[in-house]
């Protein structure tokens, strides 16, 4: 096990695959993405297989996650937003499960890779743009023209609004990535303190209690952040989809 805090994010090829000069290797990142999908799918499949009218504990857990996302989407994007429910629910569950899997020691955190979060945010962004233009045509561009702006300022405001719109996938993805990355590095750094203090003899052993408490607290915090970030990603998705559904400012 490497003791520097960054090596946990290193991608290693498990099954090298090369096709037409491009690298399609099955990496540890791919493995954990596949595991995430498998866990999320298995969770929903197993918990809903009995389908009791009075839900069992496991079934009510999956019903709760369903209701949670459904209510969020309905509150933010209105009833019309429910057509995007499969996408939002999948995104939420994927990020949540990936974050939670990342909390296991020695596991790889998929969402601490910027390319993964950027791909997810790009999916949301392109859905918003394509659906917006397909549904509203050029009226979708009304999103960029706020009401009540003096005519002279409109070109300037439109440019700023467009830049603001284009920056969405970046802030959307960077937030999830940065929080997961920072949290895991902090955990690793404080865990490293325990080991290096412990090697200093009896006094060091005594002091190393302090970073141990810190690691325990940080672990709890990381679990909280794992959930919050999945929630934030999903609710931002809902807000962006709301713009595609109702572009009038």
């Amino acid at each position: 096990m490497a003791d520097d805090p960054i090596s946990q994010f290193q991608i290693s090829k498990l099954i090298p695959i090369e096709m037409g000069g491009l690298d399609f290797s099955f990496t540890n990142s791919s493995l954990f993405m596949a595991a995430t999908v498998a866990v999320a799918g298995a969770f929903l499949y197993v918990t809903t297989s009995s389908r009791g009218l009075v839900p069992s504990r496991a079934q009510s857990l999956s019903e709760m996650s369903y209701e949670f996302v459904a209510n969020m989407l309905r509150d933010v994007a209105g009833a019309a937003g429910m057509r995007f429910f499969p996408m939002v629910f999948s995104l939420f569950l994927f990020i949540l499960v990936a974050n939670m899997l990342g909390m296991f020691p020695y596991f790889f955190t998929v969402t601490a890779q910027i390319i993964v979060t950027l791909a997810l945010a790009g999916l949301v962004f392109s859905t918003v743009v394509i659906y917006g233009f397909w549904k509203h045509g050029l009226k979708f561009l009304g999103l960029f023209v706020p009401q009540g702006v003096p005519a002279i300022l409109v070109p300037l405001v439109v440019v700023i609004e467009v830049i603001s719109f284009l920056s969405r996938p970046i802030s959307h993805s960077v937030r999830l990535f940065a929080v997961m990355l920072a949290g895991h590095i902090a955990l690793k750094v404080f865990a490293g303190f325990i080991v290096s203090l412990g090697s200093l003899g009896a006094l060091g052993m005594g002091i190393s209690i302090l970073p141990l408490f810190m690691v325990v607290a940080l672990t709890g915090l990381e679990f909280l952040m794992s959930f919050i970030q999945a929630y934030v990603f999903a609710i931002l998705t809902c807000m962006y989809l709301n713009d595609a559904l109702h572009p009038s400012h």
């Binding site: 839900p55 709760m64 509150d75 830049i163 970046i170």
Partner: protein, 155 residues
């Protein structure tokens, strides 16, 4: 039961949601929805009505507190979350502005003016992003109302 509990602690709008709780949802197969009541009306209607009443009664017992639901979210790491949110919004605006300016320079050969102008515009967009995500920009009608009701728990 689960639904009412969830609504009480997670739903943003305390009072108004509950009244329509059981009305029309595409999902609940296990429950008697409005569609199921078409055949033999009175009993299913009665069941639906009673379940709505139960939802309402449960919600009435539970103090309407959207704030406390957001508390564990905003507590503790509030500053960290807020900083991540605002800084990522701000930096994203600048980065996109600079990128656009650089692209325009490359295509139109106007270097360095495109970069200069769009970096400044990106700065403005970043400020707009940050203010908007902090909820300080007044948005148009319906959006504003929604944003207000959502307010504190969105980070």
């Amino acid at each position: 039961m689960v639904r009412a509990t969830l609504k009480g602690c997670l739903g943003g709008l305390p009072g108004q949601e509950v009244a329509v709780a059981g009305s029309d949802r595409p999902d609940e197969t296990g429950r008697a929805g409005p569609g199921a009541s078409a055949g033999d009306g009175s009993r299913d209607d009665d069941l639906g009505r009673r379940s709505r009443e139960l939802d309402a009664a449960l919600a009435a017992r539970r103090p309407a507190t959207p704030e406390t639901a957001a508390k564990p979210v905003t507590g503790g790491m509030a500053g960290f979350g807020q900083a991540m949110k605002l800084s990522s919004e701000f930096i994203a605006g600048i980065a996109v502005g600079a990128g656009l300016g650089w692209l325009i320079d490359r295509v139109a050969g106007t270097s360095p003016w495109g970069l200069i102008v769009f970096l400044l515009l990106g700065f403005a967009a970043g400020v707009l992003n940050a203010l908007r995500s902090a909820g300080l920009v007044a948005e148009a009608d319906s959006k504003k109302a929604r944003a207000e009701s959502r307010g504190p728990d969105e980070r």
